[in-house]
Each structure stands twice: as structure tokens, then as C-alpha cells.
Symmetry: C2
Subunit: 228 residues, 2 copies
DNA sequence: CGACAACTTGAGGCTGTTCAACCTCCGTGG
DNA sequence: CCACGGAGGTTGAACAGCCTCAAGTTGTCG
């Protein structure tokens, strides 16, 4: 699926390629491929071999580990500008996770061989990739910390507080970008448990829940219930 | 603590620097610093700022997240040739973990500034760093999978099977490089639970335990008890 | 030999899961 | 216009697995 219309422009908009020389960017654009993924479509599956990386141009993608029993564990969500599939590519190993589009998405795919070539000529690109990988390593460590050392309430609260929020007159508001099912899986909880935790926080007067929107009345008070 | 004796030689022995030009290696060696860490000594602490990376020359280092209640969660172990502290350095964030020497160790420390310079001149180095980060991202994902989707027995078994083993007449043998306390923490279990699991496997005739040495009678049978 | 750390074993409790029912919101088709 | 159906979400009761705490055992090193 690869029309090659304005890929150069598309690439230029991504943080990773921002500092790149025009010439090199055009060379990359010439070999980059647009991939359209419809909602619910798998971009790749666990076990498949990685031969390149994906950059999200528009849309929303999730990485999740499938399990034989049907339940899955969500590892991460990816938004426009983010890269995924790079770790396994550098390792020459099969994917550990499924990648699924959460909405109709436009991805850019770059072949391993061309990427390596670009890295060799553009140290800034290498740095960006190093930062991108580091970022995700950092997030994963936080997830491991949260699963191993925190209770369900602490996990939900610390996750709430980490979300970007906008101020309103009754507190600050945030909202789930995805279904609560997926949030629960990301936090290592069952949907039932997440629902109960949110209920507890609600009757404690700390938050207000309305569908996917959550109003945080008192962020400081929430922080407190992390400690206790 | 940096005598600068044969750092060039030491660096050359590490996979990351193997392909590097002599000139650049000597430049790095000139600014690299030897760090000796005695057993139980902390190399860095959570919260401190990272200004460079560490490479293990000799010894054994663990990364662990400390928790207010005193228990800690072991994230990873590092052996000679491995790099740590790079992710936070690239991100310019404070350490998330403590780094502690498990035995008297010799580390090489390279300042961020010099490392960036080396990356810019030596694409092969960037590639090695990318691979190193990818490797650890991969391991962390496996850990997350194991904590979220597997029972205590499955975790222990899959860990046993992933260890390097040498053949003996009664099966294949492996041995803990560190105390069972640390293994338990790495697997996200309490020491008590690990002990009980090993006991179960022993009375099931699947393994034989002798201190830190474990004899695996039938690897296939072990695999079976992963599924059931 | 004594002291301390590492490890084991047992009993009991708690957190989160499982399973099942129900509810609510929507889009669809009669 | 309303009945239907299904997905996403909530609630309840009972259970299971792992943890906690406490005591006992083994091993190791002065």
C-alpha cells in the first residue's frame, strides 16, 4: 500500500527527522512507504520478523502481548510522531507483541537497510533514535515499578496524575484516550478492578467520572492517597 | 577514582567499542575514568542526575528500584561488557533506580559530552548503543509479560529454561549467579514463594536443588508445566 | 564454637481475580 | 417510533494465589 505523495513533508514533521539534511530526507522519503491501517487492523503480529520501523503519522496504535487464554496485556500506546517496532528490528528478532490500530491510522514504514544507511550519514538521527528508545525503556521501568510495588489504587492514581490535564473551574480534567478495558490492561488490572477503584475515588470525593472524562477535584489530596 | 592505565585495552575488549577506529578509541580512553566499586557499594542512587554511562569491565552490578517500605524490586543484572545508565543519560532525567555492585567490580565511566562526540564520528558506536538499548527494552517487555500473564510457577520455570546451562550425566545444570533473594525480586516474587515453587518442582521430580545449583532432569517436562 | 545471613516451612489473611448478573448507551432494522 | 442486540461498563459474592509474619533450619565465616 504505498503511494508516495508528500512523504518528505510528512517525515519532516516528525521530531526524529526534523534536523535532517534536505538531501538525506529526500532519499529516505523516496524509499519510505505509507501504510494505512484501518481501526482494529493488526500492523504486525507477535512472531513475525521485523525488517523496518514504523512512524505514526496520524492515528493511534497499541502494542500488546497476546496470551493463549485470550486476554492480552497492553504495553504501550503510540501517537503521531512516535516510532515503534525499532527495538526488535535492531535486535533481528521476531516481534514480541501485536501492533493494532485503535483508529484509522497512517503510518510510515522505513526499511532497515535504508535506516541504517541514514544513521551512518546523520548522527543526529542516531541520537533521536537513542532518545526514543531510552524514553520507552524509562516508561517500561516505571510500569514495572508500578506493577511490583504498588496497590491497584496507587497505580490508578499515579496514572491519573501523569496524564496531561486541562484546568476547569472545578479542578483539572483529563480523559481516557481509549476504552477503560485497555487502560486496565495497561495498568495490569482487570476492568472490574479499575471500575471499583474509580468508584472508591469517586465516593471519596476526589474525582468525578463521566464516561471517559475524569475531573480531578484535588490533585494534592490524590497524591496523599498514594502514600497512605 | 581514575587511574588511567590500560583503559584503551579495556575498552577495546568491550563489544561496544570493538569496531572503533584506534584514534577515536584512544581519544575516548583518554577521557574515560575507571571506577572501582566494592561489593555492596552503590554506584548511583535513584534521583541523582546522570552525566555519563557506565560499562562493566569486571564484576557484577544490579539495578533495582528502592521502595519506601524497604523492599526493593530488582530490574536487571549487568555483567562484563554491558552498559548501564545510558537510558537516563540520553533523556537528561534523574536515575529511576539504584545501581549496586554485587561483588568488587571495575567500571568504566564515560562522560556524556565525550560520548556524544564519539557517536557523531563513529556510526558503528551508535548502532551498538541502539542494539544495547533494544536488548534491554526487549528483556523488560518479557518481564512485564511474565509478571502480568504468568503464575509464580510459570515465571520460575520460564526463567530456569532461559538460563544458560551445561550438560551433565543426569540432565542439564544451571546455577544462580546471585542469592535467591535477588532472583525472587527479579521475578516479582517473595523469597518464600520462590522457595516453595522450587520445592514443588523438586518433589515433582523435575529438578534437583543444591544451594545455588539446579539440575534440570527433563527440560521438556518442565516446558509442559508451563502450559498446564 | 557462636553469630549472622540465607533459606525453608507453616498458618493465616488480604488483595485482586473470576464468574455471573445487570445496566446503559447506541446504532440498526422492523 | 420502538424493539432488539451488542459492546462497554458496573456491581456483587466467592474464591485463589501470593504475601505476611513468625519460627525453625542450614550454612558460612570469623
Amino acid at each position: 500500500m504505498g503511494r508516495k505523495l508528500d512523504i518528505g513533508e510528512l517525515l519532516r514533521q516528525q521530531p526524529v527527522f526534523r534536523e535532517m539534511s534536505d538531501e538525506l530526507l529526500q532519499r529516505l522519503a523516496a524509499v519510505a512507504i505509507q501504510v494505512r491501517a484501518a481501526k482494529h487492523q493488526l500492523v504486525f503480529r507477535r512472531g513475525e520478523q521485523a525488517t523496518g520501523i514504523y512512524i505514526v503519522a496520524t492515528g493511534h496504535v497499541k502494542l500488546a502481548i497476546p496470551s493463549p487464554q485470550g486476554q492480552e496485556k497492553v504495553i504501550e500506546f503510540f501517537r503521531p510522531g512516535q516510532i515503534f517496532g525499532d527495538a526488535v528490528m535492531f535486535l533481528d528478532r521476531p516481534y514480541l507483541v501485536d501492533a493494532e490500530a485503535l483508529e484509522d491510522s497512517l503510518l510510515i514504514w522505513i526499511d532497515k537497510h535504508h535506516l541504517y544507511e541514514a544513521i551512518d550519514h546523520e548522527p543526529a538521527l542516531a541520537r533521536h533514535l537513542l532518545v526514543s528508545l531510552s524514553q520507552r525503556l524509562h516508561f517500561l521501568m516505571q510500569d514495572i515499578e508500578s506493577v511490583n510495588l504498588q496497590t491497584s489504587t496507587q497505580r490508578v492514581v499515579s496514572w491519573l496524575l501523569r496524564q496531561p490535564r486541562r484546568a476547569t473551574d472545578a479542578g483539572t480534567q483529563t480523559s481516557f484516550a481509549v476504552s477503560k478495558n485497555l487502560i486496565a490492561s495497561k495498568l495490569g488490572l482487570t476492568p472490574e478492578t479499575l471500575s471499583r477503584v474509580l468508584h472508591q475515588l469517586r465516593i471519596a470525593g476526589l474525582i468525578q467520572v463521566e464516561g471517559r472524562d475524569i475531573l480531578i477535584h484535588d490533585a494534592d489530596a490524590l497524591e496523599q492517597c498514594m502514600a497512605g
